[in-house]
Amino acid sequence: MAVPLLQVRDLCCSFITRRGEVKAVDGVSFDIAEGESLGVVGESGSGKTMTALSMLRLFGPASKVRLSGQVLFEGRDLLRMSHKELRTVRGGRIGFVFQDPLTSLDPVVPVADQISEAISLHTSLGRKGARMRAIELMERVGLPNAASRADDLPNRFSGGMRQRIMIAIAISCNPKLLIADEATTALDATVQAQVLALMQDLRRDLGMAMMVISHDLGVIAAMCDTAQVMYAGRIAERAPVPTLLRSPAHPYSEALIRLVPKMDQMVHHRLRPIPGSPPSAIGFEPGCRFAPRCEYRHDRCDVMPDTRDVGGGQSAACWLVGTDREIAPTEVAS
C-alpha cells in the first residue's frame, strides 16, 4: 500500500497556564491518504482546531505550547522542521482556510495583491505572472468580473466572496492538502452550500486531499469520505461517513448524531441532549473521558479504552467495541 500523504502519530499539544497544564490535544493519531477528504467533528473545545494548528505549528511566538508526537507529511516531520522549511510547506503544499475571512485578509491591501503575494512566496513567477495567476484564480473560485475587481479592497466583497478569496489564496500553489477549519460556518446557508460545492469541485480538479473541521455533521456528510469524532482532546471514533451516520460505534458519536434537529423529523419530536458537560482540559480524570455522560457506562470505563477496530474501516475508543452489547441503531440514516 502506498504511504499516506499525512501520518499523524501520538500528537499532543498542551498549554502551560497559571491554573495548570491544559491538554488540548492528547495522543491523536490518524492518516490522510492522497486525495482523501477527512472530516473532523466535535463540540467546541474538543481539540479539532488545536489538532490542525499543532500540525502546522501555527502558534504565536509567545504562547507557551508543548508539542509532541510526529506529523509526517510527504515523509517529512513537520514538528521537527526548521521554521524556514515549515514556511515553504504552509501555504505551499498545505493550504488552509479559516472561519473568519475578514480577519484573515489584510483590509488595506487589494485582493489580487494578497493572492499574488502567496504565489510569489512559493513559486518563481515574477510580479506580472503572479498577478495574472491571481486573476485566473479569482475566476476559478467564481468571483464575477475578476479582472476589474482585482484592485478592490476586501471590504468591497461580501462574506461569501471573501471566503472565495481565501480559498483562492489557499489553492494558489496547488496544495496536496487543504485544511478548512469551520471555513463556511459564518456564512449563510445558501452561500455556505455554494462555497462547499466549489471546494468539492476544486478538490476533484486539483486532486487535493482535504481535512474539513466542522461542528456540523451536515458539512462532514456532504464533503468527506471519512470522519473522525473528537472528544476532550482525543479521537473517539473514526469511520467512513456513511458508516458513522448509519451505525456509530462510539456512544458519543451516537449522541452527537441524535441531538441535532433533522429536516425529516416530525415536528415536535423531542431531542435527546447529552447530559452533563465536557470535562475541563485541566487535569483529566483517569478512564474514558466520556464515561460521566455515557448511558452505556460500566466498571471497565474507569480505565481508558484503546482504539479498537470494528471492521470496515471503522474504529472506536470504547470498551463496547467487540462485545455483544451493541449500540442501538440511530434514526438518522432512515
Binding site: 451516520l245 425529516d264 423529523q265 441532549p273
Partner: protein, 365 residues
C-alpha cells in the same frame, strides 16, 4: 420600486386576492384567535446611501399558542420585522395589531401594559443580560417594571421561574458572567416568560450555542410552550431548528414574505424557488448529502442583493433558474396554492404552478 408597491398595495385593497393575510386568517381559524396581525407593513430606514426598506409590505398572522418560524438569510429583514413587532422600530405604513390593539395608535400607557404580554429572547445571551445584576434580579425585573409584584413576591416568583427554565434557584445570587452560555440563555428565557406573555419574539435564540446546549434550549422552549400556551415568533436561519419547532413557517427574502404555510407544507412541498433553494442548501447529515451538494447550484446562484439596489419585478429573479420576462417586470402577488391539499399554503411567484416538485432527496419527509 413602483412596481413592487403597486403589487403589494393590492393586498390591502378591498378586492382581496387569494392568499392575502385576511384569507389566510380565515383559513387558519382552527388554530385559535390571532394574537398578532401584521398588515401590509413597511419599515424604512434612512441611510447615507439613500432610504432602504428592510420590511416592505409584509403581512402575517400569529395565532394563540402557535409558533411561527420566520426564515431567510441574514440581512433579509427578519430581525427588523421582529423589532417592528416589539415596537423597537416604527412602521412607515401598515398596521401591527397585538391582542386587538393597533400598536401604532396605542397610548404610551397602553403600550406599556401590552409589553408585558409581548416579550423577547435575543441571540446573544451574554450581551442581553446586565453583567452587574444577579440572575434572580434579572429574571424578576419585568415584574418590577410592570409593578406586578412586591419585592418578596418577586423573588419567590423569580425562583419558581429559574426552576421552570432548569436553573437551580440556589444559583440566583450569581452574575451572568459566572454562568455558561446555555445557562445565560435560560436566564434570558426566564426573564421573557415571567410576566406570562402571550407572544415571545425569539431572535436566533439558539444560534450562538454549541449543539448539545442548543438541543437542551430547544427542548426547554418546546416544554414551556406546552406548559404556558405562549406563542412564539421564532426567527432563525437554521431550517432544521425551525422545522423542529414551528407550526407554521414564513419565508422572507429581501424584505418580503415569499411563501408561508404549515411547517410540513413548506418543507415537504416548497413552492417558491427561493424556498426550494433554501431547502436544497440545508446540509443534512445523511447519505444523500454529497449528491445534494452537487445539485445545489441548480436551485439558485449568487449572493443576496443589497436593499440599496432592489431588483425590479420579483426580487428573486436575478438568482432564480426559472425567471422569465414577467419576473423582471411584474412583482408577483401572494396567492393560495390551488390544488394543494393544504388550506393556507401561499406563495408569491409567477411560475410556482409550472415548476416541477423538488426531488425526494431535497424535500423533508
Amino acid at each position: 420600486m413602483t412596481d413592487v408597491s403597486a403589487g403589494a398595495d393590492m393586498i390591502a385593497d378591498d378586492a382581496v386576492p387569494a392568499g392575502s393575510a385576511e384569507v389566510l386568517e380565515r383559513e387558519t381559524s382552527h388554530l385559535g384567535p390571532p394574537v398578532l396581525e401584521v398588515r401590509d407593513v413597511v419599515v424604512t430606514f434612512d441611510t447615507p446611501d439613500g432610504d432602504i426598506s428592510p420590511v416592505d409590505h409584509v403581512s402575517l398572522t400569529i395565532n394563540e399558542g402557535e409558533t411561527l418560524g420566520l426564515v431567510g438569510e441574514s440581512g433579509c429583514g427578519k430581525s427588523t420585522l421582529g423589532r417592528l413587532i416589539l415596537q423597537l422600530v416604527g412602521a412607515s405604513s401598515g398596521t401591527v395589531e397585538f391582542l386587538g390593539n393597533d400598536l401604532n395608535r396605542s397610548s404610551a400607557a397602553r403600550l406599556r401594559a401590552l409589553r408585558r404580554e409581548l416579550q423577547v429572547i435575543f441571540q446573544d445571551p451574554r450581551g442581553s443580560l446586565d453583567p452587574k445584576m444577579t440572575i434572580r434580579d434579572i429574571v424578576a425585573e419585568p415584574l418590577k417594571v410592570h409593578r406586578l409584584a412586591g419585592s418578596g413576591e418577586r423573588d419567590r416568583r423569580a425562583d419558581a421561574m429559574l426552576e421552570q427554565v432548569g436553573l437551580d434557584p440556589s444559583l440566583g445570587h450569581r452574575k451572568p458572567g459566572q454562568l455558561s452560555g446555555g445557562q445565560q440563555q435560560r436566564v434570558g428565557i426566564g426573564r421573557a416568560l415571567i410576566t406570562d406573555p402571550k407572544l415571545v419574539v425569539c431572535d436566533e435564540p439558539v444560534s450562538a450555542l454549541d449543539v448539545s446546549v442548543q438541543s437542551q434550549v430547544i427542548n426547554l422552549l418546546q416544554d414551556l410552550k406546552a406548559r404556558l400556551g405562549v406563542a412564539y415568533l421564532f426567527i432563525s436561519h437554521n431550517l432544521a431548528v425551525v422545522r423542529h419547532l414551528s407550526d407554521r413557517v414564513a419565508v422572507m427574502y429581501l424584505g418580503q414574505i415569499v411563501e408561508q404555510g404549515t411547517a410540513h407544507d413548506v418543507f415537504a412541498r416548497p413552492l417558491h424557488p427561493y424556498s426550494r433553494g433554501l431547502l436544497a442548501s440545508v446540509l443534512r447529515p445523511d447519505e444523500d448529502a454529497p449528491a445534494r451538494l452537487a445539485e445545489v447550484t441548480r436551485f439558485f446562484f449568487g449572493d443576496v442583493p443589497s436593499f440599496h439596489d432592489v431588483p425590479t419585478g420579483c426580487r428573486f429573479h436575478p438568482r432564480c433558474p426559472h425567471a422569465t420576462e414577467i419576473c423582471r417586470t411584474e412583482s408577483p402577488v401572494m396567492e393560495l396554492a390551488r390544488g394543494d391539499h393544504a388550506h393556507d399554503h401561499a406563495v408569491a411567484c409567477h411560475h410556482w404552478a409550472e415548476i416541477a416538485p423538488v426531488p425526494a432527496t431535497i424535500r423533508a419527509k
